[in-house]
């Protein structure tokens, strides 16, 4: 067949290990892959997703003395500053404002970190994309995945604070939180996949998103209560527009479940309208809509990603 064995040390044990007649999965490389094939590939590479998330977190806080604690200090500082500015200086009168802030911020941070991280993910991993074949959507999903890990960590800390401040979550709404989280994950993943592909062709996307997400943040009821905005636009029948923002119902659900005050007595002594009086079923319906819509968007994102992916290795 070829040269005589250069080293003559071909271990016999290895020869036994392989059966050339084993049944083999047939795999087609084509200009285009169907969405279902893409979904199957993502599922097959789920261990890679886990590995990338672990890598991202490990690398981020490697060699730093405080390590993971840093992921808490950032939102802690944010909450402290906003607490001083809005409660102490501007006097918004919301009771337990820090808890209110933390609840909304928890959701927002997952969305922002996931989407922003994913936008640059394919470009930043150019060397991988050019050398190894794997479903590249995983790179974007890993950003959402690592944001989820930070979310869970922060959620535990929030839980501790709820205990410390003696806030009792509303059990009639708490069961909605995992559903809200699912909706947020689906919407974030859809945007993540879409933006990571577009960013390969338009590198401005990353910077554009940084600005866009700032506006988006203020369009979401995190710092100010939902009712403050809703009461202003209710006359114009525009509340639905406010709710189109997928982070809004998710943040609302979390606030309703864990902050759990709709019209408490404020710091100044009068009643403050914070959260709407929607029933749990209303929340379920809206969240369900976003889950369905987000899933559809995810499939669209996958198809766009697939269309653009063919030339990734050249564009990078």
């Amino acid at each position: 067949m070829a040269l005589p064995d250069a080293g003559g040390k071909v271990a016999q044990a290895e020869v036994i290990g392989y059966d050339p007649m084993r049944t083999l999965a047939v795999h087609l490389v084509r200009p285009k892959m169907s969405i279902w094939a893409r979904l199957a590939a993502i599922w097959r590479y789920r261990d890679l997703l886990r590995g990338l998330v672990a890598k991202e977190i490990r690398v981020k806080y490697k060699d730093s003395a405080l390590g993971f604690i840093w992921s808490l200090l950032n939102p802690a500082m944010f909450i402290l500053i906003y607490y001083i500015v809005f409660q102490k200086i501007l006097g918004n009168g919301i009771p337990l404002f820090a808890i209110f802030l933390a609840t909304g911020l928890l959701c927002w941070n997952l969305f922002q970190a996931g989407v922003l991280g994913a936008t640059g993910s394919v470009v930043n991993n150019a060397s991988l994309v050019k050398k190894v074949a794997f479903p590249r959507e995983i790179l974007a999903l890993a950003s959402v995945g690592s944001a989820l890990v930070f979310f869970l960590f922060q959620a535990v800390v929030l839980g501790v604070f709820l205990l410390v401040f003696g806030v009792t979550p509303d059990l009639g709404y708490v069961w909605l939180a995992p559903i809200a989280l699912l909706a947020l994950l689906i919407v974030s993943s859809a945007l993540a996949v879409l933006l990571s592909a577009i960013n390969v062709y338009m590198r401005d996307m990353q910077h554009l998103m940084e600005i866009l997400l700032q506006a988006w943040f203020w369009a979401t009821p995190v710092v100010y209560p939902f009712m403050l905005m809703a009461s202003k636009i209710a006359r114009l029948h525009l509340v639905w527009l406010y709710l189109v923002n997928p982070v809004t119902p998710v943040a609302l659900t979390f606030q309703r479940a864990f902050y759990a005050k709709t019209d408490p007595i404020g710091v100044g002594g009068q009643v403050v309208h914070i959260l709407p009086h929607y029933s749990a079923m209303w929340y379920l319906g809206v969240l369900g809509l976003f889950i369905v819509g987000g899933s559809a968007l995810f499939l669209v994102a996958l198809s766009v990603f697939g269309r653009l992916e063919g030339n990734f290795a050249e564009e990078l």
Partner: protein, 409 residues
């Protein structure tokens, strides 16, 4: 036997942008209309690789062989056509692609293996084999950034071969690492062959392909120009090289590159091989025959210049195959005044078939400084000679056999 890889009329076009507009502003300004040329990297390639065989893909740089390999690996999607692959593919395009310098060897094994499509449990099972093969020992717990390039390559190779591939794609990665490691890689590839796995091996080195492959295809400018048993394919490749369709006569490359080092008073003006001036076209030389290389030097200096001459003959892989330096040889310096011709006579020019460049340098006798250097790319082409002889050196050989004992059974 069943085919393991089927390439069905695959074409790949690259878009070559004069200028790449990747920012939004530029996109808006040009309204998405970016001037580009379509460059056919692969044109309508079809072939099948039988299960258990080893195929070589030969071609010069830019022939499309690596693009084809990337398509088979699924890294690039073909513009049209499709590729069917049976079983798990392991592509070794770059050893250790995807290693993260800040992670330990252990973490990188898991990450890299999952990139190649292994599940965590499958890696667990193979982990010890991977570490054994990589010879890293306890260093597997160290961060990869502290590894030597050899350790890095060993670990990359170890992960790739231990993922139990049905089809192994190798792209000249064997060139890295020390001789021991190369031997180990080649042995591993040979054991894969024995086990009946399919291997596609890309190289521009006919020697490696001859040593490993059962058959080979030759690519030239994105087209499949020939193939068959390895020896035949190599002949095709050499014909293409000699016909000058390849890199060897790339018009984009400057044919004669002068590197003036001195004050420009001394110039290497002309090169002749066997009495024929080297100019645009290479001069043919027959292997084993006499050859004369004559160099003409023009000096406009008032005083005579005393200089030593260095001649280097460089093959197509940019490796110097022969060189002499008159100073090191202990010869007297040349006296350069007006026009001088120096001639080097080779009684037997034993270079193997192929194209060669000549680099000539003049050094001052007094100071040893470089006066002038000039390279004639593809100055001479060695072709013809005895059939069946190839390699870097066309040594004169006779082959005979004799009976040592007569033992009839």
């Amino acid at each position: 036997m069943a085919s393991s890889v089927e390439v069905r009329s695959v074409s790949k076009q690259f878009r070559l942008f004069q200028e790449k507009y990747t920012s939004l502003k530029e996109k808006v300004i040009h309204l998405g209309k970016v001037p580009y040329e379509v460059f056919p990297a692969l044109s309508d390639i079809s072939f099948e690789v039988e299960q258990g065989t080893t195929l070589g893909l030969l071609g010069h740089n830019g022939s499309g062989k690596s693009t084809l390999l990337k398509c088979i690996a699924g890294i690039l999607a073909p513009t049209s056509g499709e590729i069917l692959v049976r079983g798990r593919v392991a592509a070794m395009l770059e050893l250790g692609a995807g290693f993260h310098p800040d992670l330990s060897g252990r973490d990188n094994i898991y990450l890299n293996a999952s990139l190649l499509g292994l599940s965590r449990r499958e890696v667990d099972r193979r982990f010890d084999d991977i570490v054994d093969f990589s010879e890293l020992g306890p260093f597997v717990e160290n961060q990869v950034k502290f590894y030597s390039s050899g350790m890095y390559a060993r670990l990359g190779f170890a992960v790739a071969v231990n993922m139990d591939p049905d089809v192994l794609l190798v792209d000249e990665v064997l060139a890295v690492g020390d001789a021991n490691f190369q031997l180990k890689c080649i042995n591993k590839i040979k054991s894969f062959q024995k086990e009946g796995r399919t291997i596609i091996f890309v190289s521009h080195s006919p020697e490696l392909v001859r040593g490993i492959c059962d058959s080979a295809f030759v690519l030239d400018h994105g087209r499949l120009v020939g193939g068959g048993p390895t020896a035949e394919a190599i002949t095709v490749l050499q014909q293409f090289q000699l016909a000058g369709s390849s890199l060897l006569f790339d018009p984009a490359r400057d044919q004669n590159r002068a590197i003036p080092a001195g004050d420009g008073e001394v110039q290497l003006s002309r090169l002749e091989v066997n009495g024929v001036q080297v100019d645009q076209r290479a001069v043919d030389v027959e292997p084993g025959q006499q050859a004369e290389v004559a160099i003409e030097v023009e000096s406009s200096a008032v005083h005579a210049t005393f200089a030593h001459l260095e001649l280097t003959i460089i093959n197509a892989n940019n490796i110097p195959v022969f060189s002499f330096n008159t100073r090191d040889m202990g010869l007297d310096a040349f006296v350069l005044r007006g026009t001088t011709q120096a001639t080097a006579r080779f009684d037997s020019f034993v270079a193997g078939p192929g194209a060669y460049s000549a680099r000539i340098s003049l050094y001052s006798e007094e100071t040893g400084a470089l006066i002038e250097s000039r390279q004639w790319d593809n100055a001479l082409v060695v072709r013809g000679g005895r059939r069946g002889i190839s390699g870097t050196v066309a040594m004169d050989v006779s082959i005979f056999a004799e009976e040592l004992s007569n033992r009839r059974l």
